[in-house]
């Protein structure tokens, strides 16, 4: 495959059959449309390119800016497309809750404006919410913005009506699947694909998936939020079901670990919702003893890599690592309580005569602001890491450990003692006690 431009690589994604041993459906073939294999990483590449393409060259002449209300994948694709055409890109959103995506967008040169949180003391007469102000700026007469408007732009839906949908039919040897299961975000892909499939076979049943209201699944709206989308038409869907974040992650793990499909949580939600929906259908088919097989397609919207922090927050168990040697977590309360310690006055005398190595465990910013003269700064996380490998300084050199209130230093004094250091002490009450006693702190 040889292309002249990366944009030529958008679309024509594979349709991969999920192993029946994984999903357990006996009479239905389940296929995943792998939109994660688009060049910028998601199903949104299609819509972004279709919406922006007609206007890019004109915008480039006027040194304009592409703007979109997007929390992720559309922004990513538009940022790349804008950059390729010498334009800048700005995303305005209050839904960007995935730090990796935010960083990636900044890396791609995007400007991100976040909408503020809700007011704590509401002003019921206020009419200008920040989103209204944003739209007003866009519609000013001399505005040079290219607003792709994904929630209302028919070219979003069209990209899937002319691309994604027909590709599915082609890969199923010219037949539409019996079932299409789609997560509702901008509603562009579900609406466009549904229309293409139904044009081929009006009997196609379309199941929409939304996020449970108290949950957050990136790329999926809750049912209330779906109503805010201009492209959303409840009539498109034969059913609308909710998926929880836990279920989305469960589905994602199955795709990741058992199918070799590195889908993100949205794809996981689609898989989970699809299997849940189809299980009942499958049993009916088995009961009828019908020999006809049915087929179903769901969309894998994007990749897992961007959602590690999202998953870590909800399922820390998935990131469990083996316990390490010399960890402060191994200490007993008694060991910490009886850790060698020294008060401020004695510590001052000791520093003057015994020349202990004074280790300040606080962050470099705090250390730079004020510290005990002559101390070295090894921030706690780093210190813990060092200790996994063994004692980081000689047994012959006495050590005084200091932290803000003497709690963390006590743990490390206990740990170093256990590791065989003969003369390590924790500064009782920490740097705060040192300050409160009027002992000198310097910034040098």
């Amino acid at each position: 495959m040889r292309y002249d431009s990366i944009t030529d690589a958008i679309g024509n994604t594979p349709l991969v059959r999920i192993d029946p041993a994984v999903h357990g459906l006996r009479n239905i073939d389940l296929y995943a449309k792998l939109e994660l294999l688009n060049p910028f990483g998601s199903v949104k590449d299609r819509a972004a390119w279709n919406m922006a393409r007609p206007h890019l060259s004109a915008a480039a002449e006027g040194s304009g800016q592409v703007v979109e209300l997007s929390s992720g994948n559309t922004a990513k694709a538009l940022a790349v497309l804008a950059g390729m055409h010498g334009l800048t890109f700005k995303s305005v959103t209050n839904r960007m809750r995935i730090p990796e995506i935010k960083d990636l967008l900044l890396l791609l040169g995007a400007e991100i404006e976040e909408l503020p949180g809700q007011s704590e003391c509401l002003d019921p007469t206020a009419t200008d919410d920040p989103l209204t102000l944003f739209h007003r700026t866009l519609s000013e007469p001399d505005s040079t913005y290219l607003h792709t408007d994904q929630y209302f732009n028919p070219r979003n839906t069209e990209a899937h009506f002319t691309g994604t949908g027909p590709e599915i039919v082609k890969d199923l040897d010219g037949r539409a699947p019996n079932w299409f299961i789609a997560c509702v975000g901008t509603a562009g892909s579900s609406t466009g694909v549904a229309r293409a499939l139904r044009e081929h076979d009006p009997a196609v049943r379309v199941a929409g998936l939304v996020a449970a209201k108290s949950d957050f699944i990136p790329g999926i709206r809750t049912i209330d939020e779906a109503h805010e989308v201009g492209l959303f038409d409840p009539g498109t869907y034969d059913s609308i079901e909710t998926v929880s974040a836990d279920e989305a992650i469960e589905g994602m793990l199955t795709l990741n670990r058992r199918c070799g499909i590195l889908a993100g949580p949205t794809g996981g939600a689609a898989y989970f919702g699809a299997v849940r929906q189809l299980r009942a259908v499958d049993e009916e088919l088995a009961g009828e003893g019908s020999s006809d097989r049915q087929s179903a397609v769901f969309i894998v919207c994007d990749r897992v890599e961007s959602y590690l922090s999202y998953v870590r927050q909800r399922r820390p168990d998935l990131f469990g690592r083996p316990r390490r040697r010399n960890s402060p977590a191994d200490l007993s309360d008694a060991e910490i309580r009886t850790a060698p310690a020294i008060g401020v006055t004695d510590a001052q005398a000791w520093i003057a005569t015994g020349e202990p190595l004074v280790v300040d465990l606080r962050s470099p910013y705090a250390y730079a602001a004020l510290h005990i003269d002559g101390s070295v700064n090894i921030v706690e996380e780093l210190f813990e890491e060092l200790l996994h490998g063994g004692l980081p300084f000689s047994r012959n050199r006495p050590v005084l450990l200091a932290c803000p209130v003497g709690e963390k230093s006590a743990r490390y004094a206990a740990l170093l003692t256990r590791m065989g250091h003969p003369d390590v002490r924790s500064l009782t009450g920490g740097i705060i006690a040192w300050r409160d006693a009027g002992a000198p702190l310097v910034r040098d």
Binding site: K102, I112, G117, C121, A126, K213, E228, S363
Partner: protein
Amino acid sequence: MGGQPLYLEPRLEPRLRSLLDAPALLHTLTDALGSPLNMVVPDQLADNLQQFRSVYGTHHLSGQVYFAHKANRSSALLRRLAATDAGVDVASLAELQHALGAGLTPDRIAATGPKNPEFLWLAARTSVTVSLDTRGELEQLATLVRKHALPRVRILLRLSGFEASGVRVLSRRSRFGTAVGESGPLLEDVERHADVVDLVGVAYHLDTTSLTEKATALEGCLRVLEECRSRGLRPRAVDIGGGFGVNYLAHGGQWEQYTTGLTEAVLGSRPPLTYGGHGYGLRNEAGTLRGTLGLYPAHRPVAGARYLDELLSHPAASLGGRPLAALLLEHLYDLHTEPGRALLDQCGLTLTKVLEVRGQESGGPLLVRLAAKADDVALEEHGVLMDPVVVPRHPPGTGADVGAGPDAGAEPVAVHLFGSLCLESDLITRRTVFLPRRPEPGDLLAFANTAGYCMDFHATRAQHQPSARKVAAWQEGDTWRWCLDDQYWPTTPVGGAQ
């Protein structure tokens, strides 16, 4: 009535629940003192303070919790507060006088907000800490101190307009505080006036429910404090204001059902849920939902002390990713907070008497007229949606099981609650309220948890209608005791109301 009743049951902690379980007392009080009647429960304030203190403890932080006085005018609450170790932040001359008179010593008072010369003078005279909004205010204070030979004043600088690195956060404009970008000239002024002012630290107050915006501001403050230190100043505190929120509702599920119901009603797919089809900021444009829901997020799992805990645990992205609390601690800064609403959580309720219950010819919701004005129960004004609790005049059966569940045989009803003003707009709520039973004239409707901003903040004497009187109540063993708000002192509960 349009499908299942959509309840929004208030969250009732044991004290308020116990008070609502004493209907005889509530009826006696309203019979004697009139409707509406505000009740405050001072002991709850002390308990709430402890929750904030324990968050400070978890993070090893020292510093003061200042109660934001403007949230309630009660003397009883203030005097109860004086008997704890908390502080109070005052925003007017009269509030300052009130605080001093309630027994709060100047070292426990902070003066904030817009200030007139009398307020500034009394603050400086009594050596309370002054939070300054602008360079102009600093100038005014310095002049005042010199002219009247007052003692050196401890000051905080209130900052605003914090910028996050990498991502620009759009903010509502604030009239308060000096933009961080202007902190240079402000600090030069502080140095110039070093003989009359003593810089304690910096402050911010952001009117937002967003944790990340507050975290950004706190990081910004740490940077300005570092700038102070490099100039040789000796700041030792950050005041992060309040806005930690209150969870008003007992069940998150009810809140979700209600807001979804409201969305559907606005889109026309279910009957209206409000008087006159009001959408609380939402509107239907060709089948698509537009606008912003102008409601307080009444069910908030993370509010009050827990919100503070989350904020302090939030990683400081621009300062190495350590939690904000760790940074404050390591930099040896005290943390000051100014919770108003959150400190008054579960501290009071408003009682209103039912005057009239009228059916409509169209068979719509019952019209219920209360002996109170909309300003007396300002829940609606603050966008807080919460059902009142019916306290029947004649409890069914023998027991008085108010608030303990629907009575046998009682049918749920939909009602619209009106006030006693001769104005079409005097609606206690704009929404259709569902009650587990039909109220009767003489019954009380108790609005729970109104002590923070929703009790006397908006009350007026329009049309010569009385505004609510206020009583303080406390428990002695199993018995509720009470006195007029003004009669309450921390010594009262011990000796009993005289």
